[in-house]
């Protein structure tokens, strides 16, 4: 059971990365971004292409990193993928969401557009890579035997550490930079922020960059932990939204806590249920939450 708890925290840190981006988008752009899971998938497959095709072709070596199943090339690929995914999100915003915002379309229309975008991204991944499961590496590394009968793979520790580093960086950014403060102000009250002279276009663009980069990182970390499949992001959509609502929409700290809780609940449920039921477990958590505390743990009742 302790082992499941630890694995749950690892899964939860992946969910948290996706959920923090989703909650920023939800809070600042004010619509439910249903393509967020598929941005995760996109980021993961970009790393697959870089790590096993492009970078080896360019002659970039895989510098081993201790006990991990991958090396420096993977880290380089991760950084590039975060940038590429952020660029894709900006492009989609320019082509699709910005015209809808200018037209003052309702948030539901933007949500439908994002649902369409989710299916478009997934179809592209199916077309390029096919439906089969893929792996970054075939290497098997021995797990560490920790106290309390916990077996932890070095890769899992890496996932947890990297996720925490990214969250910490985001926290510093939001708390201590002018742009971060502008983002929080826009999430609080967009009209007031606009009247105060905050450049909402710039805030919007940075929200996409941060949200998409974190989503890409989440997808890659899931790919390291498990495997890549075109519908992996879709199966994350329910836990992501459950974590966002649990933490209160627009609250990054809430999304972090919500993500960890969802990860632990999903993982511990595998002691009683088939692992394939994980999305359904997230759904049950969500329904209970909506009945008991629809504004989330940290949300305000407005």
């Amino acid at each position: 059971m302790t082992e499941l708890l630890v694995y749950g925290i690892v899964l939860g840190s992946i969910i948290a990365l996706g959920a923090i981006g989703l909650t920023l988008l939800y809070g600042i752009l004010r619509f439910a971004h249903f393509a967020h899971g598929d941005l995760m998938t996109f980021g993961a497959y970009v790393v697959l292409f870089l790590h096993s095709e492009l970078l080896p072709w360019l002659g970039i070596p895989e510098l081993r990193l201790g006990a991990l199943s991958f090396g420096g090339r993977m880290l380089g690929a991760l950084v590039i993928s975060m940038a590429v995914t952020a660029g894709l999100a900006l492009l989609i915003d320019r082509l699709l969401y910005e015209p809808l915002r200018t037209r003052k379309s309702s948030p539901v229309i933007l949500a439908i557009a994002s649902l369409g975008m989710a299916f478009i991204l997934r179809s592209l991944i199916y077309i390029v890579w096919g439906p089969q499961f893929l792996f970054y590496t075939q290497e098997l590394r021995p797990a560490w035997e920790l106290p309390l009968e916990v077996r932890l793979r070095p890769d899992q520790l890496f996932i947890l550490v990297l996720a925490l580093v990214l969250v910490a960086l985001l926290y510093l950014f939001l708390q201590h930079t002018t742009l971060g403060k502008a983002m929080r102000a826009t999430a609080d009250n967009p009209q007031l922020a606009w009247v105060c002279g905050i450049d909402t276009r710039r805030v919007t663009a940075w929200t996409w960059v941060l949200g998409a980069a974190l989503a890409a990182a989440a997808g890659v970390l899931y790919g390291i932990d498990a495997q890549l499949r075109p519908d992996m992001g879709w199966s994350f959509l329910l836990p992501l939204f459950a974590a966002v609502i649990l933490g209160g929409i627009g609250s990054p700290v809430g999304a972090l806590v919500g993500g960890i809780i969802l990860g632990v609940v999903q993982q511990v449920s595998t002691a009683f249920l088939l692992p394939t039921y994980k999305p359904a477990v997230a759904f049950v958590v969500l329904i209970i939450l909506l009945l008991v505390r629809p504004h989330g743990l940290f949300g305000r009742t407005t």
Binding site: P99, P107, I112, G116, L124, Y126, I127, F241, P294
Partner: protein, 323 residues
Amino acid sequence: MDVSGLLSYLVSLAIMGGIYAIFALGLNVQWGYTGLFNIGIAGFFAVGAYTSALITTPMPEGVYATYVEQLIGLNLPFAFGLFGAMVVSAVLALIVGIPTLRLREDYLAIATIGIAESIRLIFNNERWLANGPRGLTGLPQPLRAWVEPQHYNYLYLAIVLIAVVAVYWAIERGIRSPWGRVLRAIREDETAAAMNGKNVFAFKLQALVLGAAIMGLGGALYAHYVRAISPDAFTPLFATFLVWVMLMLGGSGNNRGAIVGAFLVWGIWTGSTFATDQILPPFWASRAPYLRFLLVGLILEAIILLRPQGILGEERLVSKLLE
């Protein structure tokens, strides 16, 4: 292809177009008239199909029972299957609607995705319920004794079209009544509707349940047409997304638009199957379904950006004297 081959192709196209028209009409009640964001159509589709299958098939016996497990097998006539599908689908809508319809509008969307995914997982994993991933086969078809087997699809087409007309007529009646006006008032301005003394939650729940019952009917008609159902058929791409594109293309808030959109998108869908199977080399042909989904996705974005009202647009239901 000879004439009779072409004709039977057109008949099968029309049957599926009609079944999708029923889903699009159900979604039109929820989204088009009431503004309810249901993206879990696959869930109601699956529940309708499986319910009717469990009601109309006999319980497996003898050797067969070791291969096929199902919760119940009532062996009742087709009409009971349709009715049961509508009832169970409506109950499912109550379960989703009660916790979510008092909250922000997008919570319903998230909950409907959740119920659709959960239902697919349940049918996939719980073999005792409806035979797990292999699903149920040999679903009975009504009035088979009336016509030659090779002409049966004409009869089934008639059944589907009667259902489409009946659903269309019922929704038109409802939507032109005071009840329908309240739904549209809620869609336009929920607060104003509430201030006029309307119980917004109750009306939304009624629209969700009615739409879901119609989708359950569509699911049952689908099941008895293909005669073999498995959880694979009820994926969000195939069962939810296509229906949304149909309604958005035809025109939300217009029942004729829903029907036109259904036949049009299904025509594009099967027509492009034809094209990709014939033209593309084998590698691409195996990925053709995804090329088609990409095409359908792009069509949806194009409608939202270029013609948000769809082909027909919303029908004006107020007096022409009020301009």
